[in-house]
């Protein structure tokens, strides 16, 4: 393979996005931004529901960014980017949940 002869920073891979998918992604991300904005500005929901809505929209936004702009779906096997992402999410979850768990007991104790 020719790619092995070159250095990593020269090996530009083509990004498999088309105009159509970028536009769809853009619309999705705009809509996902507007929904919580409208809800918050007009006080449409109570506090808990608003928080949940914002969180759900944020997660969807994350997925949209990954699929339409980061091209996580188009990666060739072996899918190292996807693996790194999942591992990163696991670590993130560990940090947040673990800290909450450990520190909860700590505040009880003090």
């Amino acid at each position: 393979m020719e790619k092995h002869n070159t250095h990593g920073h020269d090996a530009h891979e083509s990004h498999g996005g088309s105009m159509k998918s970028y536009v769809i992604g853009f619309l999705f991300s705009i809509v996902l931004t507007i929904i919580p904005l409208v809800v918050v500005l007009n006080d449409l929901l109570n506090k808990t529901a608003t928080t949940v809505l914002i969180l759900v929209m944020a997660v969807l936004q994350f997925a949209v960014q990954l699929i339409f702009f980061m091209h996580i779906k188009d990666e060739k096997k072996p899918r190292f980017n996807l693996m790194a992402l999942i591992f990163g999410l696991v670590i993130l979850l560990t940090i947040v949940a673990g800290s909450i768990w450990i520190m909860t007991y700590n505040t009880v104790a003090s």
Binding site: K3, H4, H7, D10, F80, G98, S99, M103, Y105, A109
Partner: protein, 656 residues
């Protein structure tokens, strides 16, 4: 005017301690000597073009190793000073404040500025050669990583003569490390030194993950990689996810100190325990980051000097990768006594015990590799054989510490000190020494004197046990870490004296090593071919030291231990693999930007430490300018023509 300068100098320089004054004078004299030598022999241009701007992974590796040996010297002197202070009760060799500074710098330097760069040095030299690549994936970034590490380490080290050393322990727990507990500049030097070198470490981690995944020689499958490469991969994956936690945690501490935030303060809603929780999320993976490559080194050495294929290759890979994963789930065992409750402690005690299992698997793999092998006791092999019992004992005491209820007894006692020195010296230091001896001929083209190496080996080993075995007992007798002195009636003196003797034996061992290197350079004997130890992996298939482009032709890999199989085939009279025609080789150009950018970071960090914005802001602007300059430079690579490769190869291999 003169008074003002005097006043400034008395704040700027650390004054009042004869030991430090001596160090200041000797540092000044060595600087003058170095500048004189470089100028007298007109070597400035050589230094700049051949070393400071080099993006060659082999040269960067050598610079890492030189820096780490200097740091080993400083950290070692710190250790000896502490041992002298503890040799007798109520000594007044070091006063309490100075003692605090010394144990803090000893810890930081040994882990972050000795173990890490020694590890990165070996990564740099060995990994591209073992996977049949011509450089790392991002050579420019590699050079930047080195200089960030170097200037970060210098910023940390300079605190000992300018401004004052940090003295809040190697992990700088708040509230002691907050402005309320450490109003001096030492803690700021700590934060900026570690932050700057931490960026370099993170970049190296990413660089080697990409190198290993993307730049292997044609045909080399993941499961055919040398075990050292696997260990580097597992270590670098851990770096990628652990170092950001360190950066963020120290940044929050910086905000507390610099902008008066309240993340970890006692008042204003802060919680110091959160810092301890966060820092160990990095700190625990960090110890696996440094030990995993040592496991890889031992695997290579055991297999080479037993003349056998590594036993249990797949289980070894599985063990390495599972350790790097599970290392993220054990952090709370560093603060069982914090009061997080029984459930938390039980969970983290269990995960800690679990992680001992893959480590145990590896020990058996090494033993079975040696079983019925034709073992040759060269110095690298001796370090490996010494490592196994030492690490097993260290690991076992670790399992003792993992029992949460018992840990309330051991916590922060000398038992803990003995445990982690046993795994870090017996594992990491022995491992990197083994690797250094093993790959030395590949790095420099000559061997180290074996006899002196054996003296160093025995002094290190005997010194180690004499130094640290008594500390287990001292811990159980109630001696806590970080005490600078103790009373006559504690009964700790005899064991402490023995321990100090052991420390000096290790100091003597270091002198033997320096002597060994000097002796081997003086009686320089060039290696005839590149295969110093009848090796098994690709790095031994090329001349020593490797040419700039490493491989004239990229190797076509068909099996694990490919070079060994190739030699077997040739010995059996089978035809060697056909040689492909030479092609021009694509190489990266040297660049001065990494060095300049790291100087700018140093300037910015130094400015922030002293709260001199007139210095910090230009430093940061310099960093930005360097980034822009790099983004707009397109002339970054070139080709080595075929006739030049032919000439180099003929000269190196002594053929026409």
């Amino acid at each position: 005017m003169l008074d003002k300068i005097k006043e400034f100098a008395s704040e700027f320089f650390v004054t009042g301690d004869p030991l430090i004054l001596g160090a200041q004078v000797s540092i000044g004299l060595s600087l003058v000597a170095i500048i004189f030598v470089l100028t007298f022999f007109k070597k400035w241009r050589w230094l700049w073009t051949e070393w400071l701007t080099s993006v060659d992974h082999k040269k960067i590796g050598i610079m890492y190793i030189i820096a780490s040996i200097l740091m080993l010297f400083r950290g070692g002197v710190d250790a000896l000073l502490m041992r002298v202070q503890l040799a007798a009760p109520e000594l007044e060799f070091l006063h309490a404040e100075h003692y605090n500074q010394i144990f803090t710098t000893h810890g930081v330097i040994m882990i972050l500025f000795m173990a890490m760069p020694l590890m990165f040095g070996l990564f740099n030299i060995v990994v591209p050669l073992q996977i049949g690549a011509r450089d790392v994936a991002f050579p420019f970034l590699n050079s930047l990583s080195f200089w960030m590490f170097f200037f970060g380490a210098m910023l940390f080290n300079v605190s000992f003569i300018i401004g004052g050393s940090p003295d809040a322990g190697w992990l700088a727990y708040p509230p002691l490390s907050e402005l309320s507990g450490s109003p001096g500049l030492g803690q700021d030097f700590y934060i900026w030194g570690i932050q700057i070198s931490g960026i370099g470490s993170l970049a190296t981690g990413i660089n080697f993950v990409v190198t290993i995944l993307k730049m292997r020689a044609p045909g080399m499958k993941l499961m055919q990689m040398p075990m050292f490469v696997w260990s580097v991969l597992s270590s670098c994956v851990t770096i990628m996810f652990a170092f950001p936690i360190l950066t963020v945690t120290l940044f929050l501490l910086f905000l507390d100190r610099y902008l008066g935030a309240h993340f970890f303060t006692l008042d204003g809603g802060g919680n110091p325990m959160m810092y301890i929780n966060l820092i160990w999320m990095w700190g625990h993976p960090e110890v696996y980051i440094v030990i995993l490559p040592a496991f890889g080194i031992f695997s290579e050495i055991v297999s080479t000097f037993s003349k056998k294929k590594l036993f249990g290759y797949k289980s070894m890979v599985f063990a390495l990768m599972s350790i790097s994963f599970f290392s993220f789930f054990t952090w709370a065992h560093h603060f069982f006594t914090m009061g997080s409750g029984a459930n938390v402690n039980a969970f983290f005690a269990l995960t800690t015990m679990l992680i001992a299992i893959p480590t145990g698997v590896k020990v058996f793999n090494w033993l079975f590799t040696m079983y019925r092998g034709r073992i040759k006791f060269t110095t690298p092999m001796m370090w490996t054989v010494a490592f196994i019992p030492c690490f097993v004992v260290g690991g076992m005491t670790g399992v003792l510490l993992s029992v949460a209820p018992a840990d309330f007894q051991f916590h922060n006692s000398y038992f803990l000190i003995a445990h982690f020195h046993q795994v870090l010296i017996g594992g990491v230091v022995f491992g990197y020494f083994a690797g250094l001896y093993y790959w030395w001929p590949k790095m420099f083209g000559f061997r180290l004197h074996e006899g002196l190496g054996k003296w160093a080996f025995w002094f290190w080993n005997i010194g180690f046990y004499v130094c640290f075995m008594p500390q287990y007992a001292l811990g159980l007798m109630g001696m806590t870490r970080r005490v600078n002195t103790y009373d006559f009636d504690m009964g700790w003196q005899p064991l402490n004296v023995i321990s100090t003797v052991g420390a000096f034996l290790m100091g003597a061992a270091f002198i033997f090593q320096v002597w060994q290197i000097a002796h081997s350079i003086k009686f320089y004997k060039k290696e005839k071919d590149g295969d110093a130890w009848d090796g098994r992996t690709l790095e031994w298939s090329i001349p020593s030291p490797a040419p700039l482009y490493n491989f004239a032709r990229l190797p076509q890999v068909t099996s694990q231990d490919d070079w060994w199989e190739e030699k077997q085939r040739i010995a059996a009279g089978e035809p060697a693999k056909p040689l492909a025609p030479l092609e021009p080789i694509h190489m990266p150009k040297n660049s001065g930007i990494p060095f300049i950018m790291s100087v700018c970071w140093f300037t910015a960090g130094f400015g922030f430490v002293w709260d001199w914005l007139w210095m910090a802001i230009p430093g940061l602007i310099g960093v930005a300018v360097c980034m822009l300059a790099r983004s707009f430079s397109y002339d970054t690579d070139y080709y080595i023509p075929v006739d030049e490769i032919e000439r180099t190869e003929a000269a190196l291999r002594g053929t026409k």
